[in-house]
Amino acid sequence: MKTYVTLFLTMLKTGLFTFGGGYAMIALLENEFVSQKKWIEKEEFLDMVAIAESTPGPIAINAATYIGYKMLRFRGALLATVGVCIPSFIIIYIISLFFDQFLSLTLVANAFKGIQVCVIYLIFSAGIKMLKGIPKTPFNIIIMTFVISAMIITSFLAVRFSTLYYILICGMCGVSMYLLKRLSKNKEDAA
């Protein structure tokens, strides 16, 4: 029982004190679960991070579910996930109640005009950071150029083409690329 409470409270704390989303949270989780409480081995934690990053969905939720499951199976996963979401949920819900009134003040509206510029900057830097982490292979460069130009062009022409399709198409390109490589390797081996 004590472990359930500790797991829940630790996740609650993580949800309440991390700013900047998943990656900031992973550092905090490592400190809590690996360094301090020693509930999870360092190696297993790194595996978990790789899984959380490569599966769909919010990284923080992926990490919380995984850690919770490792510790206390299904109930642990549920407790950890709920715990990490609750602070966000309450804080944002309360803000949303007052947000429109708050924005109707001229001073606040002007502050938000400044903030909008900053948000665009933040999205750009997130993109650039990811760009730096990607190997510049011809395949990656072609995919990126295709996605960027297709998305900008369809948007300017007001053509609707869901982002979902880009993700699926590019995933399929990855698979075809792999199959092609294997095929040509087989041929070389045969020759």
Binding site: T55, N62, I92, S96, G127, I148
Partner: protein, 190 residues
């Protein structure tokens, strides 16, 4: 039924988005604009709030949009939707298919997704830039340059550049948001 619509929209976003909160931005923008849930400006404000409050950005965004469309039940529906796919997928991996990521086919699929998500984020940022800084939404829309926005961007770039010379981490997002709020008040009020 708005609650179901919120739930299923975010369920879809949670299932197909890779790369965490920022990877979700292009999907969320497309959905909220096409459903008329938020305007482009509301969307940017929503991200600002999600960035400057604690917790997972994706959960913050879902709760905010849910609350704006359907109050408390709406925010519960949207948050559940965005969290559920993660929860189920991770449970499956942790319980059954521990080495899912080691399969060559899965790796190949992910190798196509990674550059795609990077492209989506950069394209979304570019579209937002055209819209906010130049007033261009579509090919024929009139052109209006927001000089103040350019001024704020320049200040942010200079400050971040100088900070990064000392500390590679740079100024945290919440610091940049506070700075630009002050700049916004100064520049747009007078």
């Amino acid at each position: 039924m708005i609650y179901l619509e919120l739930f299923f929209t975010f369920l879809q976003i949670g299932t197909v988005s890779f790369g965490g909160g920022y990877g979700m931005i292009s999907l969320i923008r497309e959905q909220v604009l096409s459903r008329n849930w938020l305007s482009e400006t509301d969307f940017l404000n929503m991200i600002a709030v999600s960035e400057s409050t604690p917790g997972p950005i994706a959960v913050n965004m879902a709760t905010f949009i849910g609350a704006s469309q359907g109050g408390l039940p709406g925010s519960v529906a949207a948050t559940l939707g965005v969290v559920l796919p993660s929860f189920i997928i991770i449970l499956l991996i942790a319980a059954l298919i521990r080495n899912l990521l080691k399969y060559k086919g899965v790796q190949a699929f992910l190798s196509g997704i990674r550059p795609c998500v990077t492209g989506l984020i950069l394209a979304t940022a570019t579209l937002l830039f055209f819209n906010t800084f130049l007033g261009i939404q579509q090919l024929h829309s009139p052109f209006s340059i927001d000089v103040r926005a350019f001024a704020i961007l320049t200040v942010l770039l200079i400050l971040q550049h100088r900070k990064k010379a000392k500390n590679p981490k740079g100024i945290p997002p919440i610091g940049l948001i506070s700075i630009s709020a002050c700049l916004g008040i100064i520049l747009y009020s007078f």
